[in-house]
């Protein structure tokens, strides 16, 4: 494989991504849930089912079940960890920052700090047709927040 193409592929499918993909976190359904939504991309069959139980204004428990490609599954799993413990307004901000990372330029240092482990998904930018895979869990989250 040409070196650059191989490196890009290894960046996309890094160890963190594959680990989340093989061992998804928070995959049990949360019941009862205060926020919930289901997302589907009919073109490739990716699916995300999301439940959030709030305690006051904080995401106390997050459940996410995803089906489909590894980018979607890893993004969903990482999102569930990132949301847990965050307030509603912080969640809204995080979703904005994540979306900006995939659609725009590389995130700033402050944004990197907010995104934490999620920054491993910034390489998806180099694979434009896969951006929607990484965003499906997040658009499902936005649907859940919108009620």
């Amino acid at each position: 494989m040409a070196q650059n193409a191989q490196n890009e592929l290894d960046d996309l499918y890094g160890d963190v991504v594959l680990d989340h993909c093989r061992t998804p976190r928070n995959s049990d359904t949360v019941e009862p849930a205060d926020l919930r939504a289901d997302g589907v991309n009919p073109f490739c069959g990716d699916e995300v089912h999301l439940q959030i139980a709030l305690n006051d204004d904080q995401a106390a428990r997050v459940g996410v079940q995803s089906v489909g490609c590894s980018i979607n599954r890893a993004s969903a799993s990482m999102m569930s960890e990132a949301l847990t413990g965050k307030s509603r307004s912080d969640i809204v901000e995080l979703a904005k920052t994540f979306r900006a990372m995939l659609k725009g330029d590389a995130p700033s240092d402050d944004e990197r700090e907010d995104l934490g482990e999620l920054t491993v998904l910034e390489h998806v930018r180099e694979f434009p047709v896969r951006i929607k895979c990484a965003l499906l869990p997040w658009s499902t989250l936005e649907d859940a927040l919108a009620g």
Binding site: M1, A2, N4, A5, Q6, E8, L9, D10, L12, Y13, D15, L18, D19, R22, P42, F43, C44, G45, G68, C69, S70, I71, F127, R130, C133
Partner: protein, 417 residues
Amino acid sequence: MFDVNEIRKDFPILQREVYGKPLVYLDNAATSQKPRIVIQALTDYYEQYNSNVHRGVHALSMEATDKYEEARHKVAKFIGAPKAESVIWTRNTTESINLLAMTWGRDNILPGDEIVVTQMEHHSNHVPWQKVAQDQQAVLKVIPLTKEGTLDVSDIDSYITPKTKLVAFCHVSNSLGTINPVKMLTKKARAVGAKVLLDGAQSVPQMPVNVKELDCDFMAFSGHKMMAPTGIGGLYVKMDILEEMEPFMRGGEMVLEVWNDRATWNDLPMKFEAGTPNIADAIAMGAAVDYLSDLGMDNVRKHEAQLTEYALTEMQKIEEIDLLGPMDVDIRGGILPFHNSEIHPHDLGTFLDREAIAIRTGHHCTMPLMRAMGLVATARASLYVYNTEEEVDKLVSVLKDALRYFGDGAKRAKRTR
């Protein structure tokens, strides 16, 4: 038989590299590459005789008209249509089928009538008939499939009945590669007085197709899958039916005389070609037909069958993938869909792409078929005249790499090449 390496020289794009590697183009069922003479035909038209067709009294218009109608003759001959006027230019197969559904379909399918399609239809030969069935209070029936991905005709008489007005099906399935038994289905349709629409999008490019021998009433096909440019295709309609059909779109070119309150229609086929047509691409489709005719469609099919057999044999050796569709190349075109239950086709497709191998992943515009198979997406490699055994070897080898890469946690250790 032809020399594939000589043929490859006729396709400029096959010389290019992707990510620094030679392109391996295996997405031919989506669209084929174009030989130099097709590209040249476009350039010639625009550089030397670009002009509107019909009714022009000047030299360029007459030249353009001659070439445009000559292309229609070539295409008609290529598909065995008895008359050139029985071929209507359209944008592609989808437009051909919609034209038919909105004209013949609406005028001839009545409440209680039945339209029969199959479980393996492309959306373009399924969704237009859903609409006709809804609008006309007709019934849409779907012939199911066997496990091998062929039509299950064991109960065919309960699908094709005296109520059937139209049997619409693909000659070759774009998602499975299956070559359907056209003559048998046509005979069944004839026996109950139904008309037959053949979707030739995948068959016309890769095998000899003769509408007279197949005895279909309608056939839709696309230029871009048979080396012609995008934006040009055709609809064949049997003359006696075509003469009775109402126009599709109304406007210039399709009229004979116009008064304030009414109009009469031009001769066939112009009656169905309102507005300035796609002159350049039609002429280039004539060039594509010349190219394919020079190769000989028997030879094209022979190459396709041999390479498909080779690919099936090699791909069957990969334990981790399921090959879909019939394994007998006598009833299979050069379409190779495959599936791995653990690894999503998009991940496989991305991996192959980085090795400059172009395949397609997804539902291939056959969602009802995917649902029937319990899948949402597959990966699909599809072959054409310029593909080689070496390219199939490359596909198989990179596919094995991809399966190792995604298949277990020790991917880095295994990537030692």
